[in-house]
Subunit: 303 residues, 2 copies
Amino acid sequence: MPANTAVIAFRDDVFGHGLLVGTDVPGVYGRSGEFEDTLVRLDRVVGAAGAADDATVLRFPPVVSREVFERSGYLQSFPHLAGTINAFAGDDAAHRELMRVVENGSDWSAAFTSARLVLTPAACYPVYPALAGQLPPGGRLIDVSSYCFRHEPSEDPARMQMFRMREHVRAGEPEAVVAWREAWLSRVADLAAALGLEARTDLASDPFFGRGGKLLALNQRERRLKIEVLATIASSDQPTAIMSLNYHEDHFGSAFGIVTGDGQVAHTACVGFGLERMTLAMYRRHGFDRQGWPSPVRELLEL
Amino acid sequence: MPANTAVIAFRDDVFGHGLLVGTDVPGVYGRSGEFEDTLVRLDRVVGAAGAADDATVLRFPPVVSREVFERSGYLQSFPHLAGTINAFAGDDAAHRELMRVVENGSDWSAAFTSARLVLTPAACYPVYPALAGQLPPGGRLIDVSSYCFRHEPSEDPARMQMFRMREHVRAGEPEAVVAWREAWLSRVADLAAALGLEARTDLASDPFFGRGGKLLALNQRERRLKIEVLATIASSDQPTAIMSLNYHEDHFGSAFGIVTGDGQVAHTACVGFGLERMTLAMYRRHGFDRQGWPSPVRELLEL
């Protein structure tokens, strides 16, 4: 079945079983009570996989300042996926003019100007400025989770414009950070297996923007900076990343002034879990009736 | 103590105890693991208060389409609080120009144009378009929860730019909707009392924009459309709304074409719980050491 046909068939299945509810925006869905319940159970299992590390929990709302966003380098690599936030700062007269434009059915967006805020593109972005300065001996490990925004309207329910990402973020000396990511490489494979997912781990690259992006992607692959866990969601020919492990080297350490105990620029890495994608992968793999999921999976999820 | 002094003192207390972490944006905070844990427990207690109603659970990401937003009437009443989302649709050349502006430290927001999305101002907004059409006999009751955006940068930790709101939304015949809100009036008072909060219930009005807004607020009070549960957070002189009960009459029914079984425009009402505000009110009332909270409260929260 061609990939796009498979996507539409799967989406219709997901809608038909009432797990997601469509809206008037591609990639923006309502989640049913059961979908949420499954997602929360998966999130708990993800948390248990990293519990031994005793990470510091931090939760941010899904925005960062424009300044943090600029320093992160996201605009250089992924301008097409970003979402900036504007607000209205006009007076009564400007409001009357705004309402006139709205009532004419015209585009009123010009009445809104920058609120100096940007939607969080990945759950870890607010963490780096919070780590600025000298790390304690051994570095830091932060557990974050957030709605994230990617401006890529799509019919594929596995490619949402807003979705939740749980992440662990490690900052410290290069060797410690690399070793931490290595440890998670086997953890994510174990986790996918425990969930009964026929997943595979592969080198990957980010969707860098434009012509120059191809070189960046090649470089990322050659340096083994991004590894993904892929599972079938809409299409078995084109499996979808449900988890990813990213080594940023000194990128965020340099950008946000994060330094190790001996004054070197800290390295960072993160492991991220796409919670909606994991949820969809479970229904795709085990069927739309949760009662029929394999016993070990049901036990793991406490279903 | 003057209100603003009280606000800063309380904020410093909240920061000092590590419950919230400041960022470079007023009203945007990181939440500690304990803060989140308390919030989740309060959310569970809120859920239990309405459990008998067997509401349909729906969860939306914190955005709505520009079209839904226009129809909701929010721009007429609260343009100053809204956040619209822009995205970048340029090519390689436009990207090079964007990066030049960013590197100059200039305002690059003009390179982003409307993504036809708006941040959700209240958890219930995505529900109304989902209810469009004829309601089943007896109407509908929806349980929603979402991060919400209000563009009102403030030093008061109880006035966040992004915060979570749990809501129950009732749609149906006017008498049924009014009776439902009446039932919640005693439930919210009971809930606040069970949490040991010295709360009071009062008529209220929304922060309508501009000169004309004063009339709208007066009208809202006279018609008893908005009732709030107020508790001390930063200032005991100026308590903060932690819950609110809103009767919209036929506003959303008309805007989104929601009709009752006999073809009349449906009325709607909602009861909303500000989860961060409830959490802060608990620490303010019972102290920063959860171990010392009153036994009945600890039992209710399963602490």
